[in-house]
Symmetry: D3
Subunit: 67 residues, 6 copies
């Protein structure tokens, strides 16, 4: 039987810039744990991306945090 | 002092379709836990989206799972 | 001189499902107006996508609206 | 009665890099206005992200603007 | 030596709805070929997603195709 | 008859940082070829974005490549 690897889920975390390396590392590890625990995905199949958001490029209620 | 709420992080989980309601509910809860624990975000600020991926619209290594 | 058209900006609006056709139509029109007014983009170059979010697939603070 | 805040819509604007601070600020403000006007969302619930696109990473018709 | 699999690139294709199964299948295959040829990625590492865009949810120049 | 240009498909390629200019250029060209060949889209309507992923912001199986 031919077997193809199913790579999923894919998790993207958008966060304001400024997180430390330790936070990034722990975030990826613990989010992966959560996905494995709740969906039954094989651990090695879980992919996590972090996207740093520049404070100049983010607004809530029509205003940026820096204005 | 005027205070503006900072809503972040935003988490998107792309998964193949077919997850149960219980899995969706638990996924959102546990991923939120993981984000709060590792980034120090206020719990109520964490947003999670799930995107169901149609098996017809997903391929690894140039092949879809259904072909 | 060869001229290549620059198509941008691209705007994606993620909204909970349930918006009417009139709301969708007006949203695309008015968001385009806002982008043209503030960035100087040529109107015909502005692209808007709407993504409907299923209430089952969205949570704030670790909980879905439907739970 | 417990009340949970519904944070949406989420708007992402992808634009070629090079916009000024004033353009970014105005873009977020006016797009938020447009979303509130057309969807009835509470102003403070509207979130806008800007994503700057590097000219090296964008092509139309198979060609980049810089080639 | 411990080896971890590097799964990338991830390709997302947003298209108006209405493509046939044959088109989807061929699109995933040929886009994968293109990525492998130009980036040197291992074929089995390339992931392709297709996102169908509803005609009601897409506008250019402030207008939807259906209006 | 009024004619509006339909700009699609939109392709986003997420790749680990470090690709050369030649690779970026070729990737955009060949992915565009693949989309035109398989979907019948007019070449000038195909848009390709590349997103460089920082090695610090990407993990598979709960671990980053750099840890």
């Amino acid at each position: 039987m031919k077997q193809r690897r199913i790579h999923m889920p894919y998790v993207t975390v958008q966060m304001l810039e400024g997180r430390t390396e330790e936070q990034r590392k722990a975030l990826i590890e613990k989010v992966t744990d959560a996905v494995v625990e709740t969906t039954g995905a094989t651990r090695e199949k879980v992919v996590v991306f972090i996207e740093d958001i520049d404070k100049r490029n983010y607004g809530v209620g029509g205003k940026r945090l820096i204005d």
